[in-house]
Symmetry: C2
Subunit: 141 residues, 2 copies
DNA sequence: CTTGACCTTCCCACCATGGGAAGCTCCATC
DNA sequence: GATGGAGCTTCCCATGGTGGGAAGGTCAAG
């Protein structure tokens, strides 16, 4: 199986398969006489493993760890769980970060009338003015 | 005011200030006789504007747009709001993406006993097996 | 034998940021 | 006046994950 078919079958682009091999995430692929990389069932399973891990947001470094644990039949599930938990905490931090951006921005957006007039609470906020953009007088946020 | 003080006062690193100037986000800064960049109140306000925009997750490209609107006193707030709304949608997509990663992963983590035994629903899921990891062991994908 | 799809390697781009080297400037202290 | 250290300059490199594309070799179908 050539790299193109492996890419289609795994959902990992050919470009990325080469890259993963280059950085040592994948072992050197076997080669045909002409130098084409050759992939088999086992490689396919590894590629899919990587793709699923990426879908969960794991970094390539973490995936290297996961692959190691995966291939070690005697690994304690404790280690896998620890790795996953760490990533979960990372996701939580990212979520909080994005959520607070969203909260702040959606407040500003809701305060901006968005018509032809130039005055705009969004720009006022970004420029550091404490305009009457919703923080004045009555209903906070 | 030298770049270091401007950095401290604005919360944008000196490194980034130079970079922003390099990519045209900031105008060329004035220079002292010795070639040191010089910053004034107005520059400081621009730098803070950029930092606040970054804090809301705007890309440098979007910030270029925001700066243009900010400096155009006749801009219609409509345009600012549109730009902000687009970014808000971007944030929403990111949030959904992260949230679904988190949901999937936290389910897996909760299914993994995390002890010394090697069997692990997390790895089973990543490797494409539909183990008994909460999906009741008969379905197949 | 040609054509077109596929493969190879290699370099460059994005985005935002940081690290560090080599060399110059400024200011305080001796 | 000399010296030392902090701060400035430019320039190059790295990160992380992905893509684009050029130049050239290979394979299969017509």
């Amino acid at each position: 199986m050539n790299i193109g078919s492996a890419a289609k079958a795994s959902g990992v682009s050919a470009k990325m398969i080469r890259h993963y091999e280059g950085i040592g995430l994948l072992p050197q692929a076997g080669r045909s006489d002409a130098g084409y990389r050759q992939y088999g069932e086992k490689d396919l399973r590894t590629l899919q493993f990587i793709r699923r891990s990426r879908d969960l947001g794991f970094s390539l470094g973490e995936i290297q760890g996961l692959l190691g644990l995966w291939q070690d039949r005697a690994r304690p599930s404790r280690e896998v769980k620890a790795l996953a938990k760490r990533h979960l905490e990372f996701l939580d931090r990212k979520l909080e970060e994005l959520q607070s951006m969203k909260n702040a921005l959606s407040h500003l957006v809701s305060c901006c009338h968005g018509d032809e007039r130039p005055d705009c609470p969004i720009l006022e906020n970004l420029s550091g003015e404490n305009g009457s953009a919703g923080l004045a007088g009555h209903g906070g946020r």
